[in-house]
Structure formats: structure tokens, C-alpha cells
Symmetry: C2
Subunit: 371 residues, 2 copies
């Protein structure tokens, strides 16, 4: 292998693999990135065997070849090199020589044959959707994934067709639920739920571009999923678990109490409420909804009291309910609109939060009993 490549392009390409490789693996090769040079391309492959990424970079290849080296070291070196062009060369002893200006590094490498092969799989479902729309689904649901649940199916977000041309991503930790939809083109069996694991969601959030309306292709099959964009491919294993039948617990029909309020005003209010609750995040905060005013209060002998109020519009009778303030804040952060609505059946029934201007996402927060 012998090639010249643009330093900044190499550094950007290597940045994308940093969250995929395992830094503290007992198998050193899992902390490596595989380099494969041929024609006008340097291909980077990274995997921890659960998640894999393949990206292609333009390069001036003199001698084709391949080897793997430590991904973190190569990234740090690429970012620090003094000149805009980098020379990569395979030298004696499976070492990669990296030179630029008056700097010369040699990294120990491994033969490509030692690198874990990427699995092939039979495709049994396809969906093409806008890059930004996929990212929006991931952003609007990731926060509700359970951090480490022994109900295995809760450690990720479920993707499934909801009929028509809509695909939904949904996540829950059983205290709150987030669902977000996008328009897709392709073939997805209605009802089949694909469970995207937490790590894959994190990688998608960093990989996808919120400004891109380009199509991305998703392919499902054999317990894994593949995402293809021009110049890059991302593969990950799906969770082999059961996602709850959440549709059954969603309230139907008109809510008894429908509240409309300015989203940002409630965000600021909840930030202040949070100050006194640093040490006790699961405490119920009292939300009293009157015809024109919401009064939020919480009291602690140790930490102090707070009373806050803000204007709201209420359809239905006044109602008092307890909420984990953090759960409401999380939802408000992933909604863009100026207003949100809260729909309540009674004080202990699921509260549905929506942007009244959009029908492609909804959020559920379970109330808490007030002492």
C-alpha cells in the first residue's frame, strides 16, 4: 500500500469511526480501523462486530494494499500533521508509515485477514427515506430508551411500518414513551418491529446530517440492518427481544383535559424547578392547571421550596397532577414548535404531549402520585 491523501479528509473520515471501534477490547484488532486502498479510493472499515461502518475517501493510490492500525492513534495523528497532504505507506513488519512535512510516524499494524469480516445478509425489507427525516426520528426517540433494562427489548428503539407510507420509531422505558414518524418509499411488512440498539442510535445521531434532504436506503434482514448513503455504509445487529405492545396503553378518544401552552416558557420554568431537585430527580412535582394559569410547585425541608406560574389555555376542568419534571423537559427539548399541548384523562392517566402543528410525533409521560 502506498498512497497520498488529503489530511483533513482523512481526519474527517477517521472521526466517523471513533465511536464504532472498541477502545478497551480484549481483542486489540477491534480497536483498529481497516484500510483498503485501490484505484482512486481509500476505504475505511470499522466494527465492534455489533456495529460496522464503511466509508470511502478519494486518494491517489500508487500501490494498492490493505492493513489495519489503531483507529484512535491514526485519527489523532491525522489531525495533528503539519502539511495538508499525507503519505501513507505499508513498510516492513506490517507497519504503516505516515508522513507529512518533517513528521514521520510508524504505527504497528495487522494483516487485513485478521480483521473481522462484515456479515452478508438476505434482505427481507427495504425503506428509502430522507436523511434529515431519519435523523429526526432518532433524535425524537433516543432520550426515552431505557439506560440499561433487564427487559432486553427496551434497550433500543423499535422501527415499524404503521401502514401507508409511514414508518415509526418508538422508544420507552415504561415511565415515558416517544414516537416519531417519517414518510418512506419501499417495502416493510406492517407489524414487524426492528429493534435498533442504543449504540446504533448514538452512531446514527453523529453520522446523519440534519441539513441533508438526500435519500438514505435502509435494508433489513437476518437480525441486522444496513444503511447506505453515497460513499458510506453503516451496518448493525438488531436487538433480539420483545418490544412492548405499547399501542394498547395509549389513550383513545377526546381527552378530559387539554392544555395548550408556550413550549419555551415551560422549558425555562422547569429549569428553575430542577435547581432544587439535583439530588432527587424522581420526586413528583405538583402541576396545578387552572383555566388560564399553570402553577408548578415542589417543597423539600432540606433543599427549599419553589412556586412558579405561567399562562396556559385549558379545555376542560382544572386538574392537579404530579410529574417527574425531568421527563417533561426531555420531551419539550425534542419538539420544535412554539406551542405544545398536554392531553390528560385524569390525574394518574398517561399524559400525551404533542406539537399541535404536527401529526408525525407524540410523547407519553406517566404522571406520579403526589404525597
Amino acid at each position: 500500500m502506498d498512497l497520498y491523501i488529503d489530511r483533513d479528509a482523512l481526519a474527517r473520515g477517521l472521526a466517523r469511526v471513533q465511536n464504532i471501534v472498541e477502545r478497551r477490547s480484549t481483542q486489540p484488532v477491534l480497536s483498529h480501523v481497516l484500510l483498503f486502498a485501490q484505484g482512486e479510493t481509500l476505504r475505511l472499515t470499522a466494527t465492534d462486530t455489533q456495529v460496522a461502518y464503511v466509508g470511502e475517501l478519494a486518494a491517489n493510490v500508487t500501490t494498492p494494499g490493505e492493513l489495519s492500525v489503531d483507529a484512535q492513534s491514526l485519527h489523532a495523528i491525522a489531525r495533528a500533521l503539519p502539511e495538508p497532504t499525507v503519505h501513507l505507506k505499508l513498510v516492513a513488519g506490517q507497519r504503516l508509515e505516515i508522513s507529512s512535512g518533517r513528521s514521520s510516524f510508524k504505527l504497528p499494524g495487522s494483516p487485513a485477514s485478521h480483521y473481522p469480516p462484515l456479515p452478508a445478509f438476505d434482505v427481507d425489507g427495504r425503506a428509502t427515506l430522507e436523511e434529515a427525516a431519519l435523523l429526526r426520528m432518532v433524535d425524537q426517540t433516543s432520550f426515552a430508551v431505557s439506560p440499561d433494562d433487564n427487559r432486553y427489548g427496551l434497550n433500543g428503539a423499535a422501527m415499524h411500518s404503521v401502514g401507508g407510507d409511514r414508518v415509526r420509531m418508538v422508544a420507552t422505558d415504561s415511565h415515558r414513551l416517544a414516537a416519531s414518524e417519517a414518510v418512506f418509499d419501499g417495502e416493510l411488512r406492517v407489524g414487524a418491529r426492528r429493534l435498533v440498539p442504543r449504540k446504533a442510535l448514538g452512531v446514527l445521531r453523529r453520522l446523519l446530517d440534519a441539513g441533508s434532504t438526500e435519500p438514505v436506503e435502509l435494508a433489513f434482514g437476518d437480525g441486522s440492518m444496513r444503511l447506505t448513503r453515497p460513499g458510506s455504509m453503516f451496518w448493525f445487529r438488531l436487538i433480539d427481544g420483545e418490544f412492548p405492545e405499547y399501542e394498547r396503553v395509549l389513550p383513545v378518544g377526546q381527552p378530559q383535559h387539554l392544555i395548550r401552552l408556550r413550549r419555551q416558557e415551560l422549558v425555562e420554568l422547569l429549569k428553575r424547578v430542577g435547581i432544587l431537585m439535583v439530588a432527587e430527580r424522581v420526586r413528583a412535582v405538583r402541576f396545578a392547571f387552572d383555566a388560564a394559569e399553570l402553577t408548578v410547585s415542589v417543597s423539600s425541608a432540606d433543599r427549599g421550596d419553589i412556586v412558579e406560574s405561567m399562562p396556559v389555555e385549558l379545555e376542560g376542568n382544572p386538574i392537579v397532577a404530579g410529574f417527574n419534571a425531568r421527563y417533561l423537559s426531555d420531551v419539550l427539548e425534542v419538539i420544535d414548535g412554539e406551542y405544545v399541548t398536554l392531553a390528560l384523562g385524569h390525574a394518574l392517566a398517561p399524559c400525551i404531549v404533542r406539537d399541535p402543528e404536527r401529526d408525525d410525533a407524540f410523547f407519553v409521560v406517566m404522571p406520579m402520585r403526589l404525597d
Copy 2:
């Protein structure tokens, strides 16, 4: 106590006390800030009994009074309040009511009589110097303070008069030493060393303003030290320990080898060298100084090799020496000039680093044996 105060001024004043109070003390009152309102002033006092800060803020005081409350909570509240004016009021049960717009907090407080009193002391030395000059001395020496040495006197920086109108601050961990001087006005006994502890150095770095040429007053006495600026006072206990007789180990006379080089170029070079040394910071890096070139190299079977070079000017014969690259980087970061000089007697003698344009600071890095 009943007063109105500007929200942002209160938040800035409380920001200054956050590094002084103890957050995890067994005595809750040490996590408090003492508020004392009188005339046109709200005075904030914070102490952990080793370090104390007193700051005065303009306020519209209706009823004078005092109490202490949790400093971190009050700071977080002040920053988050919705309106630019804050109303502070002592209410029943030693509680501080904080209101602004539609927000109202009540924090539990303690009577001022429970707050640790600030010690008075007999002054036996005084120095007045420019605020920015004092900060420069602290910035140029703090990095060399030993992180946690059982030689008690090394856990801080020594301040002493060097005769004439110069005061010097000096710190060492026995592998490297940093000394920085400033012009002062006042009375300091030559030879008396005042050991400023690590925490006080950290507080000074945050408190002092690099852009200010205003005078600050230092007063020494009874094992403690006081710094006074208009509107604020900072007191701290000095270390009761012995600082080494470092003057004896400083090389005298003309060095055998004097190297002059561009500071920023060496900084960048050492950053690249550091990439492969993350896990082994104490390894000796090889520095080969030739008539016109410095070649830096380090080799590790596990992590890889690096060779770097840059132009230098050398007076004397070529020399090869080993250094901890991190120690050199630390020194280069606190020097401002375009060039630095390195003066070496022989490969294992102390290396003196200076800005050739200034005589008010010098740095010593001990070489390491190369394997």
C-alpha cells in the same frame, strides 16, 4: 433582611464564591455563603476555613440583616431567574425568599452566628503590585506545583523578595521548577518565604483579571495572607512547611550548549510526539540538537515510532538529551514570546528555559536518562 438587587450582578458575585465553599463538607455551613445587607451593600462571605472571600455588591436595602444559605443553590437560582431584578427577603424559620417575576424560591438558611468567623492577623509584610502582574506570576508557576507531595512544602508556590523591588513566585515538584517575578512596592523581608497553597493559587487564577493594571494589596502575617482589591478581599492560610533551597541547584555561568528556537513550532511538534505517549507520560523522548536542526524521536514496540525535526540555532557542540515531553510543553505554554532558549550544561544537567526577551521568569526541566 429585605433588599432588591440586580440579578446579573448577584449571579456574578456568587460565581466567585463557588470555588471557595466546600460542597461535600461534613459541616453543612461550609457549603453556605453568608449574606450581610446594610446601607447600599450586600456583602457575600465564603470560606472553607483555609481560604476566605468577601465581596461587596450594590443593593437597595430596605431592612438590614444577615443569614447564610447554600451557595451553589443560590447561584443556580440567581442565574436562572426570569426578571432582571431580584427580591431577597428573610422570612419565618430562617428562610431566604428569592423572588423575580412569577418565580418564588425559599431556601433554608442558618443564622449568621453559626458562620465561621474570619481570622484577624498581625501584618508583618506588605506588597502592592499590579493585578495582571500578580496573575502572571501565578499562571507561570502553578503548573509546576506538586500534585500531592508528602514533602509538605512542595504543595504550593513560594513567594519571596529577591531584593530590590522584585518579588518572585517559585514552584517545583523536583522534576521541574518555574520562577516568575513582578515589581512590587512595600515591605517584604528578603529571604522570608510564604508558601501559597494549591487551592489559593487556583482561586487567584479565577479571581484576578489579566486585563487590569489596578494595584492589589497583599498583606502577610501569622501564617496567612490577605489580598485586597476595591470591593473584594481574599484571605488564605499559608502552608506551614519548608520550601527547598532551590537556588543552590540552579546552574551558574555560561551554558555549554545554548539553543534558540521558535516556541510555537516546538509546541506543535511536541503535540504530535504526545499522541503516541498517552499511556506512558514519563517515558524519555530523545532530543538531538545539531548546529541547525533539532530531531525529536521516540520509539515503542506497542504504540509505534515517531521522528520529527525542526530548525534551531545552536551555540556550542551538538548534544543529545532525554526529556519528558510533557514537562517541556507545560513550560512552553506559559511563555508568550516568539522564541525560547534552552540552556544545557551537559546531557543530565538541569535545562534552563527562558524567553530571551524577558528577565522576569525562568524555568528548569531536569533531563532523563535515555535507554
